[in-house]
């Protein structure tokens, strides 16, 4: 039960009910952001944040740094493989 899609909070619609507008690839939908709002992250500070949207609720913040880390790891692996290839290809 898992269809979640990343989207960006572009408008706060109703601070009392924790409702915001989220943009997902050019379309927009009202989303309840209760799960990502707390004392450290009051609702108005959430504007512009990227969240994971599932059935009309923002279920989690998407951590840019973690995303970068994951991809960087894979890119480094790829680099290492290329290096190995060029090394082995120069061995006579």
């Amino acid at each position: 039960m898992c269809l979640g899609i990343p989207g960006q909070i572009v408008e706060i619609v109703d601070p009392e009910k924790n409702l915001a507008k989220v943009a997902i690839s050019g379309i927009r939908r009202e989303v309840n952001i209760t799960c990502i709002v707390d004392q450290d992250h009051p609702i108005n500070s959430c504007l512009g944040e990227w969240v994971l949207v599932h059935v009309g609720f923002a279920m989690s913040r998407i951590e840019e740094e973690e995303a970068k880390k994951t991809l960087a790891l894979l890119q480094e692996l790829g680099e290492a493989q290329k290096e190995l290839d060029s090394m082995t290809s120069t061995i006579i």
Binding site: M1, C2, L3, I24, S25, G26, I27, R28
Partner: protein, 356 residues
């Protein structure tokens, strides 16, 4: 004035005064004549129609000059909502039928038009629809030359149903057919997929998804004529309506016995249509189109074809999306953006949004 001349009053040209359609408008009497004259004839406005005979009459010799086969097609249009971004049921009814003629290589000439109207439909809606149909017919270069109007009780139809039958002539040298796809051929399309299906889903208020997606509803006979002028040896053409390009490709694969492989990275799809698909879990390959033609032709014709298509307003984003192989037979395979391959099967039932 007319009040002192009963004959003239009785014969006055029809003016529809009521604001909604009611049963008398389908009754065959004066109310119906008012409807036909004030709305339908006024909108469609052509010589054959204005004769107001029970049948339209067309000169045969003029037809046989154009080709050697008569092409006839018919379709009924029941879309809901009847007005949507990028079109309406009337525009669909004209373009859809014109396109069914065009993809057979026929020169589209005439349409019939039958309305089944639910009692209570606002006359303003009907005017809007017929005006839209005239615009579409003019854009396609066809005339609506005969038709029928019926009114049914509230609840017996959903606002309005339209049936159009199209007549065209196929030039002698044109020969297209689903069975003609051959290994080595390339698969082309004239632009973005899924616009119409996504627009209709997006128009559903209950999903509450704000979007600017418009239906791609348009006549294809112009672009097909350009294509055939540049490449008369096109093998297959079909407009990818309900069931999307996946359905058309399967029809081609099954008829020809070939394997069609398409490249996901090459298939054009608008950002917003992608967004709609991602949020609802829909597959754009199965979304309806109303202005897209899938073409299969010999490999050496592809560049000429693309040049001709891209030169036409209906084909600015034309591109190659796949090729034809001999095996596995009767199968459509998608090379995914990720590198793996999977089968693209025919759709079963309607696609429903999912949350899983």
């Amino acid at each position: 004035m007319s009040s002192s001349n009963p004959k003239a009053t009785r014969r006055r040209s029809g003016i529809l005064t009521s604001e909604t359609i009611n049963m008398s408008h389908g009754g065959g009497g004066k109310a119906m004549r008012d409807l036909i004259e004030d709305v339908i004839l006024k909108s469609f406005d052509n010589q054959e129609l204005l004769m107001m005979e029970d049948q339209a009459r067309v000169d045969l010799s003029a037809l046989t000059k154009l080709g050697d086969r008569l092409a006839i097609t018919t379709d009924s249009y029941v879309v809901d909502p009847i007005f949507f971004a990028g079109g309406d049921i009337g525009k669909l009814a004209v373009c859809g039928t014109v396109n069914d003629l065009a993809v057979g290589g026929a020169i589209a000439l005439y349409l019939t038009c039958s309305f089944i109207i639910e009692e209570g439909l606002p006359v303003a809606d009907l005017r809007r629809i017929t005006a839209s149909m005239k615009l579409a017919a003019d854009a396609a270069g066809v005339k609506i030359i005969t038709g029928d109007t019926k009114v049914v009780d509230r609840g017996a139809a959903d606002k309005i149903f339209i049936n159009t039958t199209g007549i065209g002539i196929i030039p002698k040298h044109i020969n297209v057919g689903a069975q003609l796809a051959a290994p080595g051929d390339l698969v082309l399309i004239n632009g973005y997929i899924g616009d119409h299906g996504a627009a209709i889903v997006g128009a559903r208020g209950d999903l509450a998804i704000e979007n600017d997606i418009e239906s791609d509803c348009q006549p294809l006979n112009g672009i097909v004529e350009s294509l055939l002028a540049a490449c008369p040896q096109v093998h297959c053409m079909r407009d990818a309506t309900r069931g999307g390009i996946a359905t058309v490709l399967n029809e081609f694969a099954i008829s020809s016995g070939c394997c069609i492989k398409i490249d996901e990275a090459a298939i054009p799809i608008r950002t917003e249509v992608r967004g709609m698909c991602e949020i609802l879990g829909l597959d754009a390959l199965y979304l309806a189109n109303e202005g897209k033609v899938v073409i299969i032709l010999p490999r050496d014709q592809a560049s000429a074809a693309l040049a001709a298509m891209r030169n036409h307003p209906a084909g600015l984003h034309s591109t190659i999306i796949g090729e034809v192989f001999s095996t596995p037979a009767e199968t459509v395979i998608l090379k995914t953006v990720f590198g793996g391959e999977r089968i693209v099967d025919m759709l079963v039932g309607d696609q429903l949004p999912r949350i899983c």
